[in-house]
């Protein structure tokens, strides 16, 4: 645990360097997971983590990269038995690099406690079911894919789609109704370009969030290994603030695609057997140790809610990164390119979206008793309308039945009025009203997903002109 270099023995053990990895001759000196100091001849000190030990050698990944390290003149010493981070309330409002060192020019954090960034699994029986509805003010989320406290709901984006803007909108607008609690945003940037990083920093400042954001910045030109540490550092702080200090924490992790690519890079340097598309076979397990660090715990006030953002390579949702993410997270918000081209904001492609915990956040006493039916009906009608639109592209509008045309009208209005809300905040009631108005475009007998009493109470016929 000692930080002071004086007591630490130094070794000149390096035998082999490849990519971000160095190999040491004797594996018995350090425990697995230990953080080492590598002191170069020119006095520069870098950090490395022990990945594997055998009697012949130890494999160490160097956080700041291996360029400039030579076998002859680099000394190795133990810095820490594992990767740890200083926890304190004072982290709020500060900016750190991926391994938790301040980069905002201010003084280091005085730790109340140091914690391993690996974290431990929350005991499933200790978990409290997430059930507080978070109103994000965004119709496609609140109405159809409700976010609840303690959930992990990623945004699947494509290159050039406004995922950052959507995430920012959530940060600015999200609130639990009727509550005014201590709310903190923990922001972990992985491989972000300077422009993107700048966008977030500026937006947080402008929105007045600056004083309640903890940022972990690993930009595109920062060392790749720190990228693997950034989300874990961020989540360790998030857990500390949530479960020790009663904060409601919203964690934004962006961009998980850069994270996975860093993981692949290390894996290939270790000459591991690659899995799908060259990503390591343990990527599911690795990602789960990040995403599963969200939730609520019985008897604790705070919560950790995660919104990871990832870029689907070539907009392919079956790519391993979105695929494995979708298998771990509790749903996904998917952005669509064609809506973006039509200038719809937020360009959310509703059909592949899902919130698995929606049911916990809606219903009597939270939103309204018929929320689920309302959402199912609009979903089903929109899906049918999209099929009709596809059909129309092949056979022409004239070949459609009158009912099909109704659905076509509905779908067009749905996309412009429900999805395309622009940069405004809508209450859930406003979202519901728009939904009922849209359902008015369909004959009443088509609304079989909603109970008859509810339809009778809210249904009013509307015409496409009403939406002009």
């Amino acid at each position: 645990m000692a930080e002071s270099g004086l007591l630490q023995k130094e070794y000149w053990d390096l035998t082999y360097i490849t990519g971000p990895l160095v190999f040491l001759k004797n594996g018995g000196r350090f425990p697995t997971g230990a953080i080492l100091n590598l002191t170069m001849e020119n006095g520069e000190v870098r950090q490395g983590q022990v990945l594997e030990v055998t009697t012949d050698h130890a494999v160490v990944q160097v956080l700041q990269g291996t360029v400039g390290i030579d076998i002859k003149g680099t000394a190795v010493s133990l810095k820490n038995e594992g990767a740890r981070i200083a926890c304190s309330k004072d982290v709020i409002g500060r900016v750190f690099n991926g391994i938790g060192q301040p980069i905002d020019g201010l003084a280091p954090i005085v730790a109340e406690e140091e914690r391993s960034i690996l974290g431990a699994a929350i005991n499933p029986v200790s978990r409290n079911k997430p059930n507080d509805f978070i109103e994000t003010g965004i119709s496609v989320i609140d109405g159809f894919n409700t976010l609840v406290r303690g959930q992990k709901l990623p945004v699947f984006s494509g290159a050039g789609l406004p995922a950052n803007e959507l995430a920012n909108m959530i940060v600015q607008q999200a609130q639990v109704r009727g509550e005014d609690e201590d709310f903190v945003v923990v922001f972990a940037a992985m491989g972000l370009t300077s422009r993107e990083a700048d966008y977030f920093t500026r937006s947080f400042e402008e929105g007045g969030q600056g004083q309640r954001v903890v940022a972990f910045m690993n930009k595109a030109d920062d060392p790749v290994i720190e990228r693997l540490f950034a989300p874990r550092s961020a989540l360790t702080i998030a857990e500390y603030l949530a479960f020790d200090k009663d904060y409601q924490v919203l964690v934004i992790l962006t961009d998980m695609t850069s994270y996975c690519e860093a993981l692949r890079q290390i894996s290939s340097a270790r000459e591991e057997i690659p899995g799908r598309r060259g990503y390591p076979g343990y990527m599911y397990t690795d990602l789960s140790t990040i995403y599963e660090r969200a939730g609520r715990i019985h008897g604790k006030k705070g919560s950790v809610t995660q919104i990871p953002i990832l870029t689907m390579p070539d907009d392919d949702i079956t790519h391993p990164i979105p695929d494995l993410t979708g298998y771990i997270t509790e749903g996904q918000i998917v952005l669509g390119r064609s809506l973006h081209r039509q200038n719809v904001f937020p360009p959310v492609d509703l059909l592949p979206c899902l919130s698995r915990l929606m049911n916990n956040g809606i219903g009597e006493g939270r939103t309204t008793a018929w929320h689920r039916e309302w959402s199912n009906q609009l979903y089903a009608s929109y899906a049918r309308g999209r099929d009709v639109r596809k059909l129309m592209a092949i056979v022409g509008e004239d070949a459609l039945t009158p009912m099909d045309k109704n659905y076509l009208n509905f779908t067009v209005s749905f996309e412009t009025n429900m999805v395309g809300q622009g940069f405004t905040r809508r209450t859930i009631e406003e979202t519901f009203d728009i939904g009922w108005k849209l359902m008015g475009l369909l004959p009443k007998t088509e609304l079989t997903r909603i109970s008859r009493e509810t339809v009778d109470e809210f249904y009013q016929e509307t015409k496409p002109e009403d939406f002009k």
Binding site: G27, P31, T32, G33, A34, E52, V53, T54, T55, G82, L118, A120, A121, I122, N123, P124, V125, S126, K129, Q151, E272, I273, P274, G275, R276, G281, Y282, Y284, T285, S288, T289, E292, R293, A294, I317, T318, H319, D323, G326, I328, E330, G331, Q332, L351, P352, L354, L357, N360, Y379, A380, R384, L391, I394, A399, L400, T401, P443, T445, T448, S451
Partner: protein, 592 residues
């Protein structure tokens, strides 16, 4: 026994190697390092043993001790299992919470059963009786509704020398001794990777009823059968498994959450204790055992969790119960195999999975079955019969069913319930694709359904299947020329198929009235729909236009039948059918 103890020479993630382990056996448990983490020997090379460790290995030094435990991974079987929540290696999670708080520390151990609780034991065997493995020594009421039979462990036999009388005993007290001195308690241990013995497998001719219309009607499996539920993320695997757990006709349910979400398990733990068991009216948790190893818990324990689950299932099967085991998801188990195999630097097979994936999958699914249980056959007793039904979720990458885990599981499981992302996107749940799914048990179950299900079950089933098949063909034409180009009779097929999908195949898991569909409701609902179809057909032939049929309010009445509670369904349905016949008759008269 002299302890075999060696020293760590290699640590790589969950895989370790230790020297000086001569004499340790394949599959034997070892305690690793100063923390005493549990591990399992998976390769032996001279004096070096390789083991997979069930907990995180970081922070360990080479040279730390590795001590063999003398037995393979075993679980303890006895009264007190029901209602428990275990991790992958049978540690009760609630006890771990007591010792280590809300986060799970390393190197913990906990007793799998409550050793202090006293159970009311009633003997069923007498001094001097010859007993063999599987014979009952007595029974204890494990829950209000279920007697736990205390069996002579498999492989043990002899003449009873002493046996205790009726009274209260803990699971560790000796309740009987045999002539050869063997002492028997209410529990015994069993290695999880070894299937428990049975006399013989029986033909499977009783259905595993799930309360889900699409499964019970179109793709039923048998008690003792197995099915897989493959589907991409978000298609509803977990909801399907949970619905089946709630409503199926098995006596006991073992639910294994293998590498899945923590919040999902929180949901189960929150919801299931509140649910009533439809069979007994008692809490549903009383007939369940949960085995939970979430995705961020150690990978090697994930591999063990499905075996722990199935061994628990076999144990109750041996008592003559019907047991259902849900494994969610078997893909995570296969991935754990892959991860360990890759660290052992084994030659990979397809997609990096080890080449023994298919053997392991087959061995696992073959542990399901309906069996003659072991035990002495006495006069007037034809022997106990128990069954273990297995439903495994599969999570294929990218929703692509051609991947190895789905393909290997398909070869051994008798039911294939394919989940379809396109259906899920339009909120058609359960999103079971009727064209791709199948059941191999249909012929075996035919006579059961004819005798026990509502009249016309198999006939209406065939009609529905034909209708859906015809719909698929016509949809292809519609995609080319548009629906307007079809004949009215053909368009009726499309409309009726849509109605079957929306009214019959879909089922709302969140509705109190629709979440469970009794055989009666299922049979009568399809009958009503097929009658409606036939009536519409003849109305069309009598000159009524399709438009006037579709816009008639009776269509909505028929589709809303699905919302009715199974209780009293048949009478209400009869009423709607009468109205429907009258309505169509009216249309015919108007047209004429």
């Amino acid at each position: 026994m002299a302890d075999i103890a060696g020293k760590l020479v290699r640590i790589s993630g969950p895989m370790i190697a230790a020297d000086g382990m001569l004499g340790v056996a394949m599959g034997e448990m070892v305690k690793v390092g100063k923390l005493g983490l549990m591990g399992e020997v998976i390769r032996i090379d001279g004096e070096t043993a390789y083991a997979q460790v069930y907990e995180d290995t970081s922070g360990m030094f080479l040279g730390e001790p590795v001590v063999a435990q003398g037995a393979p991974l075993s679980i303890e079987l006895g009264p007190g299992l029901l209602g428990q929540t275990y991790d992958g290696i049978q540690r009760p999670l609630i006890d771990l919470q007591k010792t280590s708080g809300d986060f799970i520390d390393r190197g913990l151990s906990a007793d799998p059963l409550d050793y202090t609780k006293k159970w009311a034991f009633t003997p069923k065997a007498a001094v001097g009786q010859e007993v063999t493995g599987g014979d009952y020594l007595g029974s204890v009421p494990e829950t209000e509704y279920l007697d736990h039979n205390i069996m002579v462990p498999p492989g043990v036999s002899g003449k009873i020398k002493t046996i205790v009388g009726t009274g209260e005993y803990t699971v560790q007290e000796t309740i009987a001794t045999l002539e050869d001195g063997t002492e028997l308690t209410m529990t015994h241990k069993w290695p999880v990777k070894l299937p428990r013995p049975f006399k013989k497998k029986l033909p499977m001719n009783q259905p595993f009823i799930t309360g889900q219309r699409v499964l019970d009607m179109l793709f039923p499996i048998a008690l003792g059968g197995s099915a897989i539920v493959p589907g991409g993320f978000g298609t509803g695997k977990t909801v399907v498994e949970q619905q089946i757990s709630k409503f199926c006709n098995a006596d006991i349910i073992v639910y294994v959450g293998c590498g899945e979400r923590g919040n999902e398990m929180a949901d189960v733990l929150d919801e299931f204790p509140k649910l009533r068991d439809p069979k007994t009216g008692g809490p549903l948790m009383n007939r369940m055992i949960l085995v939970v190893n979430t995705s961020n818990m150690p990978v090697a324990a994930r591999e063990a969790s499905v075996y722990t689950g199935i061994t628990l299932g076999e144990y109750y099967r041996d008592q003559g119960y019907s047991v259902a085991m849900m494994a969610d998801s078997t893909s995570r188990w296969a991935e754990a195999l892959r991860e360990i195999s890759s660290r052992l630097e084994e030659m990979p097979g397809e997609e990096g999975y080890p080449t023994y994936l298919s053997t392991r999958t087959a061995e696992f699914y073959e542990r399901a079955g309906r069996v003659d249980c072991i035990g002495t056959i006495t006069k007037g007793d034809e022997g106990r019969r128990g069954s273990l039904t297995l439903v495994g979720a599969v999570s294929p990458p990218g929703g692509d069913f051609s991947e190895p885990v789905t393909q290997n599981s398909m070869r051994v499981a008798g039911g294939f319930w394919a989940l379809d992302a396109k259906l899920a996107y339009s909120r058609h749940y359960p999103a079971i694709n009727w064209n791709m799914s199948y059941s191999l048990y249909l012929n075996d179950l035919d006579s059961w359904f004819r005798e026990n299900a509502p009249a016309g079950w198999m006939e209406n089933r065939q009609k529905a299947v034909d209708l859906l098949q015809r719909d698929t063909e016509l949809q292809e034409i519609v995609q080319l020329v548009g629906p307007d180009a079809l004949q009215e009779h053909e368009r009726l097929v499309l409309e009726m198929a849509r109605m079957v999908k929306e009214t019959f195949l879909q089922q709302n898991a969140f509705s109190d009235d629709d979440a469970y569909s009794s055989l009666d409701k299922t049979g009568h609902l399809i009958e009503a729909l097929m009658l409606f179809y036939a009536e519409c057909e003849s109305a069309l032939s009598a000159g009524v236009t399709l438009e006037s049929i579709l816009s008639h309010p009776i269509r909505e009445e028929v589709s809303r039948l699905r919302e009715l509670n199974p209780e009293g369904f048949v009478e209400k349905k009869e009423k709607v059918v009468q109205e429907m016949k009258a309505a169509l008759q009216g249309l015919v008269e108007k047209a004429a």
